[in-house]
């Protein structure tokens, strides 16, 4: 190789190398540009999501929380007991991200129209399992059965609601509307299954106890609600609820007591939704309006817990915007179906915390009220009748700005 050739060769390789170097750099830049901080996606802020434990749990409690979380996401198949008739195959498919559900996994309850109990227990009541494993036939709604459709509520912060003492709820109630404001909330005294564990200082009346979970407030505690959900929503039997909804026979437990307890612990220790934009002037104005037009008379802003063995839940003040009481909501929300001793027109006030995050578990849209029939917060308010008629008229008298402020407040929850 002559010297000139050598120089030319070296120069050429050098140029080639430069090009390659440039390509490499360009490439690594693309990787970096993908987002210096986005290169590894950040966790959403605590206030943006409903899931996650209450702050301050011990390591041992976090451990149980984790186990419950896993069980809440467990997918049931024919292998581990699903069905054969069911509504959905996973707690989390109805309570996605611990938030509200959608019409895709709504279910129908049927068979009871007054306090004489469910007349359709021999026809598959109280819940319609409208899905079935391949090769099986799902239930169909028996003709003439009173029924209602229900959409899943969010499950965050339930530990706080569970730890409120009965006496506190009684103090909020006004069954005979003694103060004459047209609002007469009452606790739902219902029969309870033998496996529930009574909370401290629980108040009994003629063998019935104050119940607070479910849309009709018919379930006593989270154990009652959870055992029922395994059984009626997924066709999973347990020692607590051993009857298979398909055969109507008692069968071997398909979920262990330990798992159910872990799920209950998980539900109890899910953090309360965190309000956003608390200092926004519109939000503050909206909150005042909320109180002024009587929304707060049912959606009680602040409650207090009593003693709880989970120390972070003991004697806490929290803001769920519910009184956990039953209210007559008028004919429009009366589906003709009921549970326990509630009237068909009565519903438990739902908590409004987390309302602004509902869309994140409902596919970007709102499905509000017990069956998701309201597609916006305004529609939900317009559906308030009965004891809430007065409050609704007050809402309708608000100026457009005020309505917007109220909306901003509700969305901040």
């Amino acid at each position: 190789m002559t010297l000139t050739n050598f120089i030319r060769f070296t120069f050429k390789s050098f140029i080639m190398f430069k090009i390659q170097l440039f390509l490499l750099l360009a490439f690594s830049m693309i990787v970096v540009i993908l987002g210096c901080d986005k290169i590894m996606p950040n966790a959403p802020e605590d206030f943006e999501v409903l899931d996650g434990p209450i702050e301050g749990l011990t390591q041992e409690e976090l451990n149980r929380f984790g186990k419950g979380d896993e069980a809440f996401g467990e997918v049931f198949t024919s292998e581990n007991g699903l069905g054969p008739i069911f509504v959905a195959n996973q707690c989390a498919s109805c309570h996605a991200g611990d938030g509200k559900g959608t019409p895709f996994v709504q279910f129908t309850r049927f068979g009871q129209s007054d306090s004489t109990g469910n007349q359709f227990l021999n026809f598959g009541g109280p819940q319609l399992q409208h899905k079935a494993l391949p090769g099986y036939s799902p239930e169909v709604l028996p003709g003439g059965a009173p029924s209602t459709m229900l959409i899943a509520p969010a499950v965050s912060g339930l530990g706080y609601l569970d730890a409120v003492e009965d006496a506190f709820l009684i103090a909020l109630s006004d069954p005979n509307d003694a103060n004459g404001d047209g609002i007469s909330g009452r606790p739902h005294y219902n029969n309870v299954p033998s496996y529930v564990i009574f909370r401290p200082n629980s108040i009994e009346s003629n063998g019935k106890y104050i119940c607070r979970f479910g849309k009709k407030g018919a379930a006593y505690d989270l154990l009652h609600q959870t055992s029922g959900a395994y059984n009626q929503d997924m066709g999973i039997t347990s020692l607590f609820e051993p009857i298979d909804p398909y055969t109507g026979l008692e069968v071997d437990p398909e979920v262990s007591i330990e798992t159910i307890n872990n799920v209950v612990f998980y539900l109890k220790t899910l953090k309360a939704p965190i309000q956003r934009d608390v200092n926004d002037p519109d939000v503050i104005a909206g909150k005042n309006l909320f109180n002024q037009i009587d929304c707060a008379k049912c959606h009680t802003p602040t409650l207090q817990t009593g003693y709880s063995p989970i120390s972070v839940l003991s004697y806490q003040e929290f803001s769920p915007y519910t009184d956990l009481l039953l209210h007559d909501m008028g004919p429009e929300l009366d589906d003709g179906y009921t549970e326990g001793f509630a009237l068909t027109s009565e519903w438990k006030t739902p908590a409004l915390w987390g309302l602004g995050l509902s869309k994140d578990s409902q596919g970007g849209v709102y499905y509000l009220m017990h069956d998701g029939r309201a597609l916006s917060i305004e529609q939900a308010i317009e559906l308030h009748g009965g004891e809430a008629s007065n409050s609704r008229s007050l809402y309708n008298q608000l100026s457009p700005t005020e309505k917007l402020q109220l909306l901003r407040f509700l969305e901040s929850l």
């Binding site: 390509l23 690594s28 996606p41 966790a43 024919s78 959608t102 899905k131 494993l133 391949p134």
Partner: protein, 412 residues
């Protein structure tokens, strides 16, 4: 910043780690037959078209490959930290039994020693280039990746989503069939058609919570008997032009569920049908290699079952590989450095909810930029960064995952 200096260090590490690998070419007892990269090869030839070690006078050739990597992944801010994975060790063995009869088998140890499987074990009898009989455990020719999946051939550590999370790569079954090839000028044509055992109920009854064909891979008894007595038909035609590239059209379909038990009909017969198209080409001059695949699946899911399990799916991937350096590096005469990028898209549940008429989600989009260094064609060191967006069934806010992967894959 992630930049040249980091890269330079990583590349030097590649070199160092490899310098201890000793290719025993000198040993005359064993000779190395490299893979045939000639134009006459199609995806369907991939099982035989691998580097083999021949032992003198022994009519059997051996080969295999090993893949290992490190992985660091974060999903919405949550990470499990760094781990090392021995993804797979594959051993293959081929033998010419007599003229026109050959045998090939492939064993795979996947994820350490968690799963050991026979991926392929078949005998071929050749009557004519256009007419060969194959029987045994055969690879169902659906798409291109299923046939041509050896790690060292790819610049990416993860297999394409479409091929492993929708189609069940590496999907093989017991059965029989025919294959053949024909050439003319710049054109080559190939076909394959097999009848094999196939899928089972787990396609729509599995804890992946979605219609998931790969769930049937877990059922090892498919090598013993069909679960419903109706064979799965799979077939492919492929066409390649020397100047343009290769395109394949494939189909796989049959009844997947166990509809009779002890002679009693316990369920309706329900079908599953898959169509796939795959292609690959190398652009002239700049040498860009492009390979991709798309497939569409229709599954008969009973209307009374949950819509969680979709009745239509589709997915695709495309890889673009750009060699940027090919020359002698250290002692490697044919070393190359490549930049590559992959796009994956998968929709496990195509359609709308009956209840709300809104779109059903359950999809995933990923992009993976990659750098690979090949000391030789047989060995690849890869650095991949993968970013994916998962949408749940209800179309709630997407879950984002970013993953760094670094590892090697090599024939031996």
């Amino acid at each position: 910043m992630f930049s040249y200096s980091t890269l330079k260090i990583s590349i030097s590490i590649f070199f160092l780690s490899l310098s201890s690998v000793n290719y025993a070419q000198k040993d005359t007892l064993i000779t190395r037959a490299p893979a045939d990269t000639s134009f006459y090869k199609l995806n369907m030839d991939a099982v035989y078209n691998r580097p083999f070690l021949n032992i003198k006078k022994v009519p059997v050739a051996f080969g295999g490959y090993l893949e290992a990597n490190s992985i660091y992944s974060t999903t919405d801010g949550v990470t499990e930290g760094l781990s090392f994975q021995a993804r797979r060790l594959t051993l293959f063995m081929s033998a010419s039994i007599t003229k026109r009869i050959s045998f090939l088998s492939e064993f795979e140890y996947e994820d350490g020693t968690k799963e050991i499987g026979i991926e392929f074990a078949a005998m071929d009898i050749s009557f004519h280039p256009l007419l060969n009989l194959r029987g045994g455990i055969v690879m169902n020719p659906i798409g291109g990746f299923n046939q041509n999946h050896d790690g060292p051939k790819w610049e990416f550590i993860e297999r394409p989503d479409e091929a492993v999370e929708m189609l069940p790569a590496t999907w093989s079954n017991v059965g029989f069939g025919l294959f053949g090839k024909a050439y003319k000028g710049n054109w080559i044509f190939g076909y394959e058609a097999y009848l094999t055992n196939g899928f089972d109920d787990s396609v729509i009854d599995n804890d992946h919570n979605k219609t998931f064909m790969p769930a049937s891979k877990e059922n090892k008894s498919r090598f013993e008997e069909s679960n419903n007595g109706i064979p799965l038909l799979s077939g492919k035609i492929a066409l390649k032009n020397r100047k343009i590239g290769e395109i394949g059209l494939s189909y796989m379909g049959g009844v997947y569920n166990t509809f009779r038990e002890e002679g009693l009909i316990v369920d309706d017969k329900r079908r599953l049908d898959v169509l796939a198209v795959d292609f690959n080409t190398t652009l002239p001059k700049i040498g860009t290699y492009i390979v991709g695949e798309a497939s569409y699946t229709m599954i008969d899911v009973p209307g009374t079952y949950t819509q969680q399990y979709g009745n239509k799916q589709w997915g695709m991937f495309i890889d673009i590989v750009q060699p940027i350096l090919r020359r002698k590096i250290l002692d490697w005469n044919d070393a190359s450095l490549n930049l590559a990028a992959r796009l994956d898209y998968l929709d496990w549940n195509v359609g709308v909810f009956n209840e709300s008429n809104t779109n059903i989600g359950e999809d995933r989009l990923s992009i993976t930029p990659a750098i690979s260094f090949r000391p030789s064609k047989q060995t690849v060191l890869r650095l991949n960064y993968r970013y994916s967006w998962d949408t749940d069934i209800l179309m709630n806010p997407k879950v984002r995952t970013a993953t760094w992967l670094f590892g090697f894959s090599t024939y031996f």
